[in-house]
């Protein structure tokens, strides 16, 4: 593999791509190219057409018009496998790994090397797996026979990338690869991307995070409403990208912090909380404040949330909520006690996809009404009922009777927030509140959180997006190995937080 110099002819070129779905024009006349050895960032709000473009590239969809050229030759992919064989690998947000199989088996899924008897050549598979993994600093130590389900998420991400590389891909598409990663893991990923770049791979990198663009991208293409809104041959200031994405400046991206007068007495106090994952947790969240919780993957942030929410309860220590000792053994108990939780994985933990927007909003209030009570109660259109709450969330939907699956991620997230508002919780836990939602909707969520805090709720926000933690929270706590190891006030720097989160080790990069 020799690395062609960047700036040579495009490896992939998409010309005048137009794609229409029934009733929607998803892409109109989009042109786009990537050269060998460069990282082309592809940005845009949700629904701008990024995924559609990638799916056309990889052969999931067929374009209505336009052409895809690989090394100058027109190609037509009817199936993802064909694009894979042509050297285009797409790494989706949701991993396509098999949790019950080994690393080697996953790496060679569907193209296992065979002996001359036609049987799978296990030895060769392991050997080649080791070779491929050795390219990645973090993954060189992974045993090819390790069952993938027993690896942590970041390592799984690396396996996923290694899988793409091992197919000999010349073009790698990464769709928000850092969504599930924390800071340190992101750095490892960036290093991996750098490795790929120097090996002459063309990389299409989709992200919502401006910082990653600055760190990685050589060029940036911005999509808006199915059209190319801007193209940058040098990476510009984030504000410029955002302006191109949303078509205007976003003022007040984060809401104003809490003033001293807004912060009230403690809502939540934990003393010496612990269980299998957590150790000696001391924590206080006051009414009216937003506390950010940072840390690397596996630091125990979600475990802390789940302990507070009764899903994986504390086994030691004491918890007080608004001055009362509590010991929640199930989410139901926690909700009754006044805790709400916005789960981190909307699709698998938050939404009931086959039901309407209103039904999703009412899920919790229904759960605490008598089983035989009419399901229409609470639904009418006054400000105290669910429709009033949904109105307040400014949810964009044709009707609240519409299936929630048809809504954008941001609107879905708002419907889940509305679910909690109906319960008037004292403490609200947000896990990755803006994961996978677009810039505009993010700002909406930040303001919403602040409004809730002003109304007297204590808010605990877990996020892997450091700028978000710093921008949206009044205080930042850092966890490491099941403990809270540091606390910062407003204005902490990313470096300080990372330093604490990684136990003092200097962050690479």
């Amino acid at each position: 593999m020799t690395a062609p110099a960047p700036g040579s002819a495009p490896m992939i070129e998409m010309k005048g791509i137009t794609k229409t779905f029934p009733g929607v024009r998803a892409l109109s006349d989009v042109s786009f190219d990537v050269r060998a050895g460069e990282v082309q960032a592809l940005v845009g709000e949700n629904g701008a057409g990024k995924s559609t473009l990638i799916k056309i590239l990889s052969g999931v969809y067929r374009a209505d018009s336009g052409a895809v050229l690989l090394n100058g030759e027109p190609v037509h992919f009817a199936h993802p496998v064909e694009s894979l064989r042509a050297g285009i690998a797409v790494i989706y947000q949701e991993f396509s790994l098999l949790p019950e199989r080994t690393v080697a088996q996953n790496l060679f899924l569907g193209r296992e090397p065979r002996t001359r008897f036609g049987l799978i050549d296990g030895a060769r598979m392991r050997r080649e797996t080791r070779e491929v993994l050795s390219l990645f600093a973090a993954a060189g130590r992974i045993d090819p026979d390790r069952i993938v389900g027993t690896l942590d998420v970041a390592t799984q991400q690396v396996v996923e990338i290694a899988k793409a590389v091992s197919t000999g891909a010349r073009v790698v598409v990464m769709d928000e690869p850092t969504a599930a990663l924390n800071e340190a893991e992101c750095e490892e990923l960036f290093a991996t991307v750098d490795t790929l770049r120097t090996r002459g791979v063309a990389i299409i990198y989709i992200t919502h995070r401006m910082r990653e663009i600055a760190r990685l991208a050589d060029r940036v293409t911005v999509l808006k409403d199915g059209e190319v809104a801007a193209r940058f041959d040098e990476v510009p200031e984030p504000a410029e990208i955002v302006r191109a994405m949303v078509g205007r400046d976003i003022a007040d991206f984060y809401a104003a912090p809490a003033t001293a007068g807004e912060i009230g007495p403690p809502v939540l106090t934990v003393r010496g909380g612990g269980n299998a994952v957590l150790k000696g947790i001391d924590l206080e969240v006051k009414a009216g404040e937003i506390v950010g919780l940072a840390g690397i993957q596996g630091a125990g942030r979600v475990a802390l949330a789940m302990a507070l929410f009764g899903q994986a309860p504390f086994e030691r220590g004491e918890v007080t909520l608004s001055g009362e000792r509590v010991d929640f053994r199930s989410p139901r108990a926690a909700i009754l006690g006044g805790v709400g939780l916005l789960p981190g994985d909307r699709k698998s933990e938050g939404l009931v996809l086959m039901q309407s927007v209103r039904d999703n909003g009412m899920l919790t209030s229904r759960a605490f009404a008598p089983l035989w009570a009419s399901d229409r109660r609470n639904a009418h259109a006054d400000t105290t009922g669910m429709d009033g709450l949904l109105d307040r969330m400014e949810i964009r939907a044709a009707s609240y009777d519409q299936d929630i699956r048809a809504l954008s991620g941001g609107n879905q997230q708002k419907a889940i927030v509305a679910r909690w508002l109906s319960m008037r919780p004292k403490l609200l836990i947000f896990i990755e509140p803006t994961r996978g939602i677009d810039v505009n909707a993010k700002a909406g969520i930040y303001h919403l959180m602040r409004d809730l805090a002003r109304e007297g709720a204590g808010i605990l926000m877990i996020s892997s997006d450091l700028p978000e933690v710093i921008g949206a929270a009044d205080r930042v706590l850092v966890m490491q190995e099941g403990r809270i190891v540091a606390a910062f006030g407003r204005g902490a720097s990313e470096q300080e937080i990372m330093h604490a989160a990684t136990g003092g080790a200097e962050v690479a990069a």
Binding site: G47, F309, Q311, P331, R332, I335, L341, P343, S348, E349, G350, L351, V352, L353, M354, Q355, D359, M362, L363, T364, R366, A367, F368, A369, P370, L371, W372, A373, S374, D375, R376, A381, D387, D391, I395, R396, A397, A398, S399, Y400, D401, Q402, D403, A406, L407, S408, R419, M423
Partner: protein, 327 residues
């Protein structure tokens, strides 16, 4: 992704799409009337309803379990146990009905509760849990009776499945079982489609993790679904025992028929979607198919083949529609 900023309060009602099961039922009934004009007489359709009542009730109960994401294979054996047990307990004493029927309904609820508890707490998939229950209940029915039930079912017990209410205007007579059917289906429909319970049954079948994190008492709702299915099994047993008297294999095969009926009514296996009235429609359609084939004088094997083909076709069609509409 709609950008309409209009306040979406007034629900824009979609045109109600007719569930294909009603069309199927209508076509079958037309065919039956064509074959046998006597069907439009009260004796014709009332007999039909009377015959369909146990299966319809069973399907209405089964829908709860299917919508919650599971299966209940134990209802057939439960029917057998109810009939056999009732005959053992009443022991020819007409006055015993007063306590035997409530006891049998309690038995149905109890069996459902055990099914639900096995699924919820032992985490055994319902297919296996209720399969085990099916075998066990069948064994219990035999064990209890020693293989042959030792009592008659008194007429007081058989009232619900056998008697007619005469001199009713318009229709001349109404079988008691049809009244039971209407009441039970009405209640189960209301419970499924107009109450919190119904919404939560749908929710846990759709996404149990989300439901739990939203505070839904998943186990309680799931167990309730199984209990309603068990209750419907006991009711069907009381009607069947009333209709036809004691025998040792009354319930055989009813579990699969109930699932078939629910599926014909568009219930989605593995949960999240389903309707009680449509399942009842499915049960009526299934009974209509059997009646029609009976009138046509087709032999038993042909009936099996037709049943199999309709079952596959109905589900294939439903999947096709679902893919087309993307819902």
């Amino acid at each position: 992704m709609s950008d309409s900023t209009a306040r979406p309060r007034a629900a824009r009602r979609r045109l109600p799409r007719v569930n294909p099961v009603w069309l199927l039922l209508a076509a079958l009934i037309l065919a039956i009337v064509f074959m046998n004009p006597g069907f439009v007489e009260p004796t014709g359709y009332m007999n039909f309803l009377k015959r369909a009542a146990p299966l319809a009730i069973l399907a209405a109960g089964q829908v709860y379990v299917i919508v919650s994401g599971g299966f209940d294979l134990s209802v057939g054996s439960l029917i057998t146990l109810v009939v056999v047990g009732s005959s053992m307990l009443t022991n020819n004493d007409p006055s015993a009905t007063v306590w035997v029927i409530p006891l049998m309904l309690a038995l149905g609820l109890g069996v459902g509760a055990v099914n639900g508890a096995i699924v919820c707490f032992l985490r055994v998939p319902s297919l296996i849990a209720t399969l085990g229950m099916m075998i066990t209940l069948n064994g219990l029915a035999f064990l209890w009776s020693g293989g042959a039930p030792r009592g008659y079912l008194p007429d007081t017990f058989r009232f619900f499945g056998r008697e007619l209410i005469k001199d009713v205007p318009l229709v001349r007579f109404i079988p008691v079982s049809v009244i039971v059917l209407v009441v039970v289906v009405g209640l189960l429909t209301w419970l499924m489609h107009r109450t919190n319970l119904g919404r939560q049954v749908h929710a846990i079948g759709d996404n149990p993790v989300a439901a739990r994190l939203a505070g839904v008492a998943v186990n309680r709702v799931r167990i309730t679904a199984f209990m309603l299915s068990g209750l419907s099994g006991a009711l069907a047993g009381i009607l069947l025992g009333g209709f036809a008297g004691v025998s040792t294999d009354v319930g055989t095969g009813y579990e699969l028929q109930a699932i078939t009926a629910a599926v014909l009514g568009g219930a989605q296996l593995l949960g999240g979607r389903g309707s009680v009235p449509a399942a009842v429609g499915g049960a009526l359609a299934l009974t209509a198919i059997f009646t029609l084939l009976n009138f046509l004088g087709l032999p038993q094997p042909v009936r099996q083949v037709v049943q199999g083909l309709i079952l596959i076709a109905a589900v294939a069609l439903a999947m096709h529609r679902r893919e087309e509409t993307g819902t």
